[in-house]
Symmetry: C2
Subunit: 339 residues, 2 copies
């Protein structure tokens, strides 16, 4: 277990790399901690939660809503959870998002930490303090920004991860490479999904590299005034598609990255749109899709990134260099309709 | 209109003293602002809201819950509220608490301001950035701390205030005097409720004095690690009684202050418990009540101020000097049972 502390504006976060979930007890006092997890994770790992009170919620993005939050709050009250308690979210992004959110609003904020169990949560969802829930088809419409106290990384938890979830995680890894890390893009091109799955050391290194990349971006811009917006690469259209078609997050983002690549080619003379498509395909991600463009545009109009009549759209100048462009909604509408 | 800016850790807040609600348009652009108010205020003042989009919710503490928040969120989405929008809470503490809360979680936080319309909200509820909702009988169980962008003070709005609401506000004014301002305690003793109601200038001065007193306490301790806890004087038992017996907040706090006076006498040799009772009575507040002690203690155990097996209880050494005492739950239980 290797502990590294990263400072954010409002708080410091302890990252425990190369750790085991069994070491959780060394970090938090079980008598004042409550684990929040989902049915799937609980079925696989319940024995590892011994000694902790545990709240188990139904699995899946469709439960990332107020109804589930209400249920968690009632259980927290029943367990006499107080301000000195720590909530520990063990699961994928849905669990870390909801745990962070409920901890941030319960008694006006109590401590929380995460043990991400999916590749996506390890490299992305659990980092940066964004939390929240969906409202109908609007993703993350409700939430706040608040940092966890700790993150525990145990890549052995990925052993049971379904194949689709691996691709899901790689979508964000490819995104990181596209906007910030050309050498990693090369690494991804030269390796394969199977190789990362087999080689635990290579995987742990990749996870740490991505966790640190995202952390650095967030540290420099915690409240998303500038550079952090780059992390939305592929997400603007991606989010619009995700709930509408019940896609995996990574699949939706992959499609979003492909389209952002085409827009980048059109507006910024970006030359490597095809290379992005190629790497996405290599890691099991979809690169084309038929969708209802008019409906997608309607959802885009409610995107949090909308500001009056424009959207901050993330484009690529080249691999490793993402840029933020404020585009009029009408222009985006035109380009999407013309695809 | 007199503008004064106060700095908090996370943000600056503009206070507009001696202002008129008609000046709201000078502070916020109506095309990107949404008023949140209740049925009563809307019936009295709707003409003043012209040019603003308005969300009207049912009046009363019993609606300060998630159901109402869900309704507001759906209306915000329908109104295409974006991150550049400002929510303006116009009403008493229930409205300012809910407006601040929903603005803090909508799209992970948008701007908000308040026009308090009750004495209680002017001197207390609208100040300090605490917001939230109740969960069943547990008051303010859910919420966060976040500062408004502005506060607009128009004491002429108090003209239509029912008598009980005047007393309600004076409960907090008396509280401020008890914990921090002995000269104001003297002022309250020498004057009467009727006199403050008749003399607009005297009232405006009293409101400003209390708004600034609370602001100063909060500034020095925004996240309630120390001195801000003094503002809970009378509130620990008060909150336990308030929802259980559907008391007015001020009535519940008045009873809480009476009991805190007795505990102070017992533990700290506080000599002026009778003077507190006398001033409370003078401003139309109750000073005794039969209540189910066992049930009140049960609710106390879920108080946010509880930390493991103790509660931070606010007591008085003398008038103008409140102190924080960490008391074991068992000791509080014993004292309350012995009353």
């Amino acid at each position: 277990m290797k502990k590294q502390t990263f400072k954010f504006t409002s708080a410091s976060v302890d990252y425990y790399f190369n750790a085991s979930i069994k070491q959780l007890k060394e970090i938090v006092d079980p008598t004042h901690a409550i684990i929040i997890t989902d049915e799937n994770i609980n079925a696989l790992h319940a024995t590892k939660f011994k000694g902790f009170k545990t709240i188990v919620i139904p699995a899946g993005e469709k439960h990332k809503n107020q109804v589930t939050i209400d249920g968690i709050i009632n259980q927290l009250i029943a367990l006499q959870t107080d301000r000195k308690s720590t909530l520990i979210g063990i699961g994928g992004g849905v669990i870390t998002d909801m745990t962070g959110y409920v901890a941030s609003i319960y008694m006006r904020g109590i401590a929380f930490g995460f043990v991400p169990t999916t590749l996506l949560a390890m490299v992305d969802a659990s980092i940066g303090g964004k939390n929240g829930i969906d409202v109908g088809i609007y993703k993350n419409m409700i939430g706040i920004i608040r940092q966890p106290k700790f993150l525990l990384y145990d890549v052995s938890l990925l052993k049971t991860l379904p194949q689709a979830d691996w691709s899901n995680g790689f979508a964000e890894i490819i995104k990181h490479a596209c906007i910030k890390d050309a050498p990693m893009f090369k690494l991804l091109k030269e390796n394969t999904l199977a190789k990362f799955q087999k080689n635990k050391e290579l995987l742990a290194k990749l996870v740490e590299r991505n966790a640190k990349l995202k952390t650095k971006v967030v540290q420099q811009d915690e409240f998303e005034q500038g550079d952090r917006k780059l992390l939305n690469y592929g997400h603007t259209l991606g989010h619009a598609l995700e709930n509408q078609y019940e896609l995996y997050h990574g699949q939706a983002v992959a499609i979003g990255m492909v389209y952002a690549g085409i827009i980048s080619k059109q507006l910024l003379k970006f030359k490597q749109a095809d290379a992005v498509v190629e790497v996405l395909a290599k890691y099991g991600l979809p690169t084309q899709m038929d969708f209802d463009k008019t409906k997608a545009i309607e959802v885009l109009k409610m995107d949090k990134k909308r500001e009056k009549s424009t959207i901050n759209y993330i484009l690529l100048e080249k691999i490793g260099k993402g840029v933020i462009k404020q585009l009029p909604l009408t222009e985006i509408e035109q380009i999407i309709q013309s695809f």
